[in-house]
Amino acid sequence: MAFKRSGAVVEAVPLEALAASDVERRIVEGVRKYASHQDNWAKADKNTPFLGSLIGMGIESANLVDIAMSIERQFLTRMTKRVPLADDSSKFRLEPGELGPLMILEGQDIHAATPGLAVKMLMDNGHMPKDPAYLRDVVSFAYIVVVGEAYRLNDTLRRTLRKLPSAADPAARQEIAANVKALVQQARSYAEALTDPAAVVRSRREAYYWERSELQGLEAQLAEVTEKLKQIALSDDTGGADKLRSQQVSLRLRLNTNRTRLRVAEEVANHSGERIPVEEEKVKNVRQVLLASVAEAGRAMDASAAGA
């Protein structure tokens, strides 16, 4: 099955016929035209984020849909039979059927932040068999987020630091120094938090359980309000119905927020404690980078104070 794309014909290949590493290679090749940081794209591996230009390929969020569509165009799958969902007939899930075009359903790619995680997404959704050997060194979404934040913090610290010697006005220099100090403090705390995976997982699990119990409470409240609304709809009490509707909207708002937070908290709790070696390595590297910046900031602040 072939699709025309940007003048070239893309031959879609059955996922079942490909090794995970081949799927990954095709995914990376497919997003090349959206990568604004071609250097990072050229050396991308399974753990290179699609978004962000410090360590990522520099794909903009406006191209998120392009990533999913690029993956879809290249592969065929047997998960093609649409089964409507019981609670919403406009939505469906996919079950095994005839070989056909791959379809990534809305929300399935929420954690597919790297080529490796995109391959994992295909495995998790039954489009290709699980390959434990391939997944062994795929950095979890949790650590992609944690490490990415650390590099962004480091970048801000270094750029703020660079302004220090160029500020001629002593008052301005003092203000920049205060910003550097606050960023150094943040960098130190971040580096410290990264050292102990057991502490990280403890706090993440607590956050997860707390989120889950709050979600369950909200679900119960929403069910109660919805039931009351059904009963009041049969009466003439429009004021009471309006009040309940307003409560319902407010509860739905909180419920939606909590569901998404719970998904992220669950993902992070599941992976932040048991670091695989490649995650350990990435954490070690970014800690070193952060601490080197902290040390350099200390020297620059001393020099600045001496020169003041």
Binding site: Y34, S61, E149, Q186, R252
Partner: protein
Amino acid sequence: MSEAGGGFVGNDVVDLASPLLDVRAAEDDGTRREWIARHLTETERSSVLEGARFWEIFASKEAASKAFEQAGVAVPRGAFRDLEVDLCRRRVTHGPTGSEAEIALLEQNADRIHAVVVFPADHGCEGLAARVERAASDADSSQAAREALARLLADAAPRRGPAERYAVASRDGRPRVLEAGTWRDWSVSLSHSGRFVAVSALLP
């Protein structure tokens, strides 16, 4: 809660001459239609086919998702159809919750579209500042946006001091402002696309 009285701002710029738009224009009709369909709700699709109006909706959605995120109304990555834009009413509605945000600014010229959205919709625009700048061709867009935000803050609140006193960092995944060593809980937003960077802030 932000220092700006509980209001949250998000903005988005689209460079209409971006090479990525050309990439899309070169694709076949079916692919283009599908791409657009993945961003629009049924109501939006019925009012817009494609072209500049699509990009107004797109920029409004991107801007709204940033404002909603800051307020704790989660918009999952890539869930464009959770948001519905009504350009006539200048509103963006978050489908799963019914929450509404206001399109406070939607400006377009031949080069670009810039949307600024404030949540909640009845917050008003007091303290709102926004601007688009052209970034140097060799600039790091993300850094250029952060510097543009520092300049915007200095211009919008001249009594506070010059742009140098601000550093724009990220905390808990959101852009945050450091002012002379103090973290400010101001709602701010950064965006970049092709040749442009755009920034917005809700100041107390």
